[in-house]
Every structure is written in structure tokens, then in C-alpha cells.
Symmetry: C2
Subunit: 319 residues, 2 copies
């Protein structure tokens, strides 16, 4: 058997699911009479906002760390992220008794820095640009010998994220659609692979903010077009597709649709009001696509992935 | 068999539960590793914030309306309430194809008036004081012949609210404690009765805001002491105990504890942040009591009732 990381096969996703289950929640799938009536469809919401550390990222992070050799594990893990991957990796490292070195922009919200530190992560600050974070990460890796775990462009991460869709398909029989947010493409590529393996008739739809629409444009052009200056309230979806996630998406995703920030905020608020659950802006993007009417869902069965629930309650977007 | 309303027997709660089940959710019971660690206890959260119309009030309202004769039903129902009972009764009337006449203070938030109207309720405004609302209600009842459904001081309402505790005890075996908010006492008396019938060793604890502590004082004095000028962020708990709810509480509740508004807001915010679910201030009161340490819960099993999730997202209490 080839050792990971390698292209995720169905058997890898099954193994990953077994491995991570002691450290992650099997999150619930909820429904809402209100949204069903709004869309004249049967909608199902996979609630990764209830996942450990508040987002699906815990799946990939723990799967990646579990796949390390004993030597690799002892040297620790490193990444650059100001968001949910940072927390998830710090948590995974703590569970397995090793160190996590996290490079964060010095402009990262205090609340996110505190969350990483609460999981025992060691934080290194850098200037808030791509070059600075890569330089700082290289420094940290050189100094510590830690293993770099990329937030999404890593087959172990993609395999871990795919387990959410595996759970969906174990509960919802042959959905017509699965709507999934796309930033760097870890969750979307994992979801598309799992659907291709276990429910090939299900159409997987990528959902992206207009202000960070590199996946939309790359998908049309059939080549990677990185985002230069992303700008959206969906702060988890600022990143561009990677060399590993893009080919999987190109081959297995049905379509990608975009929505603007107003639509995202509106969808997020409706979920808080009607479903009484907290989702973050990035997690509201797929529902915003559904509510935009770009896909005709009349009498269809569709799953919407709520990817996370980490928001700053001091800065509500509609305030 | 005696027709309702009469003192709720175990068999009445069982019948009510069967009757309302087509119109209410069996709400989930959640747990939280964070809160378990905070309290060194096993805590279970009964999520009535996910109930129809956003609060446990839907149980009592539909049970009361279902108990009406055909003649009574045709004349419609009436109540005075600016809160969750108003919405719940309007919804119940709509389901059974009759009218709901709701007296609300002219100062009621527009969002609550809109919610009642969205369920087809007919709203009558009055001055924001007890005398004015009773006068206006009497007028409405005289004019329409509608049946007055009191928000809590009614055995049909108490029986309906008791079904939440019945569900709790079907899922959680012999909890040491159940923490329940208390305003007028409909939920607390129903909970205490259900516990007395099906889990007599379980101690039911009433949880009240310091700024509306009539239940606390009445319980100590063993006589009804109505609240003169209640003032608390827990806007669902401003009312005083009633002549029917108080004797049940006095006989079946173990103790009543109070918390201040700061503690309530803190508990509410922690739930939003850690559990990613939305609860209203009144629903946070029992958790605030638990976090206050007034009851030693070490290694105990305790249920906390999240009574509702209707908040105005434009006016967050910590903003």
C-alpha cells in the first residue's frame, strides 16, 4: 500500500473516517420548514459549525497529523493561517502530544490568536502579505524541523475534509445537489470526490463570494487563475485554489456559482433568525447561492454544507 | 373523565404529548465538552430554542387550543402578551383554522408585532401597563366572544409545557437536577410535575433573574408576592407567578436561585460562542445559575432547559 499523501481513493476516505472519528464530531444534518418553503425543495444542512474547534477544518488537520511518522510527529507541525485551519492544527497537535507552530499576520484578530494559543499553539507573527508569511514559515520550519501542513493543498487534508460528505451520503439517500463553499478548495475537492465515489448522480456545486471568485474564473477557463486582491466578508474563502485541489474540482464539480456580500450577510442572518444556529459568513455562501435562484431546485433534494461557526460576536456584519 | 382544564395528571401530560406531537418538534438534547469541563459535571441541554415559533410556548398554546370545543374554537382565542406566547397562540390558531386576537403594549418591538401578524394574529394595542392590557383584553373578548388563553395560569398551558420534561426524561435517565427558568411559572410547574411523576428523585431547580425575583421571594415566604417593577434583560421572565402555578411549584420544586443581568448576558454569550446556537436572555438564566456555582454539581448529571431563541439581532446585549 502506498503511504499517504497520495491521491485520495475511496478506501483512503473510509480509513480516514475511522481514524478521525475519536477526535471529531459526527455533526448533525438539520432541516428547516422555513427554507424548504422558500425554495420549494427539500434542503438538508450539514452542520460543521458544530464540529470541534468550530469548523470542518478539524477533520483534515487531525487526519494529516495522524498520518505522520513517529519521527515527523516529534518534530511538530507548522502552517500559516489566520483562520480555522490554525485552530484545527493546533488542536490536532495538542491531542497527539506534539507542538504546532502557527504563522499569523500581525493584523490577525486578537480573538483568533487567543484561540490558537488556547490549544497550545506557538504563534509567530509576520507582515500581512503572502511573501512575508511564506518567508516566516520557511524560517520556522528550518529552525524547528516541523512538518508543514498546508491548509488545503495536501492530499491528507483533502481526504480528511471528504469525510463530511461521506457522512452526508450515509444519511441522505442520493441528493440531487450538494452545495459547498470554495476558498482554497480543500472541502470542495473532498466533497466532490466522495460524491463521485458513493453517489455519482449527485451534482456538487461550488459556491464562492464574488469578491474572491478565482475558482469561478479558473473553472470556466480550465486553468488556474489566482486571485490578486480578494475582498469579501467571507473571510474563510479569501484563498485561491491549489495545484492539487483544482484538477479534482475541474473533473468532479458540476458548476460554480457566485454571490455578493449583501446576499451572504442576508443568508447568514436568516439562518441565525430562523434556525437559531450560528454560522460564519463563509458558511452562508452556499445557502446564499441557493436563495439567489441561480439553480432551479423545485422539488429537488439538496444538501447545503454549513462549513463553520466562528464569528466575532463583537462585530456583527449587519450592525 | 373530567374535561380539561383540570389539575394535570400524568395521564393528561401523556395525552397532551400525543396530541401536540404533529404540531411541535421533539427538540434535541445537546451536550458540550466545554461546559462539562467548566462544571465538572455531565450537562444536557434541552433545546426549546429550536421549537416551533422559537420557544417552548408552542407546546402549551397548541395544547390549549386543541382542548377547545368546536363552538369555542370557532369564536377564536385571545391573550395579552408581547412575547413568545403571543406568537405561539397566533400560530396555534392558524393551524386549527381560527382567529387569534392578541393584545400587545404599543411599545412592543416592531419585530414581535410583525411575527404575530405573520402567523395571522390580529393585534390590538394598549398602553404598556397591567391595567390597560386587562381592560383592552376584556373589551376584545366581549366584542369577539373569543376564549382567553392565559400565558401560564391555565392548566392546559401547564400540561402542554410539561411535555418538554417528559421528553427529557425519556432520553436522560434519572438526572440529578433539572434547571428551568421561571417567569409566570408555566414551564417550571409543568417541569416539576413531570419530574414528580416520572423521576421523583430528580431535583427541579427554578432559575430567576434578580431583577424579577418574585418566585424566589414567594417560595421563601410560602405565599404569593407579586413583582411590582421587574427590571431585567430576561424579557421573557418579567411576569409574576400565578394562582395555579405557585402551589405546584411550592410542592414540587427543590429550590429557586437568582442571577443578575451580567451573569445572564455572559452565559448567553458563552452559549453562542461555544455551542454555536442562539438562545434568548431568558433561556440563559438556568445556565447562569449553574455557572454561578450556587449548586455543587461535581460529578452530577444535570439538565438545563434552553427555553427559547427569539432575540433581536439588531440589539445585542453586549454591543
Amino acid at each position: 500500500m502506498i503511504k499517504p499523501p497520495h491521491f485520495p481513493l475511496a478506501s483512503d476516505i473510509i480509513t480516514a473516517h475511522q481514524n478521525i472519528s475519536a477526535f471529531t464530531h459526527r455533526t448533525p444534518v438539520l432541516s428547516s420548514a422555513f427554507f424548504n418553503a422558500q425554495c420549494d425543495a427539500s434542503l438538508f444542512f450539514k452542520c460543521e459549525n458544530f464540529q470541534k474547534a468550530g469548523a470542518f477544518k478539524s477533520r483534515g488537520a487531525i487526519n494529516a497529523v495522524l498520518s505522520l511518522s513517529q519521527d515527523e510527529l516529534e518534530a511538530g507541525v507548522a502552517t500559516h493561517s489566520s483562520g480555522n485551519h490554525a485552530q484545527a492544527l493546533a488542536r490536532a497537535a495538542k491531542i497527539l502530544g506534539t507542538k504546532a507552530y502557527i504563522v499569523m499576520p500581525r493584523t490577525a484578530p486578537a480573538i483568533k490568536v487567543a484561540a490558537v494559543k488556547a490549544y497550545g499553539g506557538e504563534v509567530y507573527f509576520c507582515e500581512p502579505n503572502q511573501e512575508a508569511r511564506e518567508t516566516k514559515l520557511a524560517e520556522v520550519v528550518a529552525k524547528t524541523g516541523a512538518c508543514f501542513i498546508h491548509p488545503y493543498n495536501d492530499y491528507r487534508i483533502i481526504t480528511g475534509q471528504a469525510t463530511a460528505c461521506k457522512e452526508i451520503l450515509e444519511e441522505i439517500d442520493s441528493p440531487d445537489y450538494i452545495f459547498c463553499p470554495v476558498g482554497g478548495g480543500g472541502l470542495l475537492s473532498g466533497t466532490a470526490l466522495a460524491a463521485a465515489y458513493w453517489s455519482p448522480k449527485t451534482k456538487v456545486i461550488g459556491c464562492e463570494p464574488q469578491g474572491a471568485d478565482d475558482a469561478f474564473r479558473s473553472f470556466q477557463a480550465k486553468k488556474l487563475i489566482p486571485m490578486i486582491k480578494p475582498e469579501t466578508v467571507a473571510d474563510g474563502l479569501l484563498t485561491s485554489l491549489g495545484s492539487l485541489t483544482f484538477p479534482i474540482i475541474l473533473e468532479n464539480v458540476h458548476a460554480i456559482f457566485c454571490v455578493n456580500d449583501t446576499q451572504i450577510i442576508q443568508a447568514m442572518r436568516l439562518v441565525w433568525e430562523r434556525m437559531k444556529i450560528i454560522i460564519e459568513p463563509s458558511a452562508a455562501v452556499p445557502l446564499a447561492v441557493v436563495l439567489s435562484g441561480q439553480v432551479n431546485l423545485k422539488n429537488k433534494k439538496a444538501v447545503i454544507i454549513f462549513s463553520g461557526g466562528n464569528v466575532d460576536l463583537n462585530n456583527l456584519l449587519w450592525a
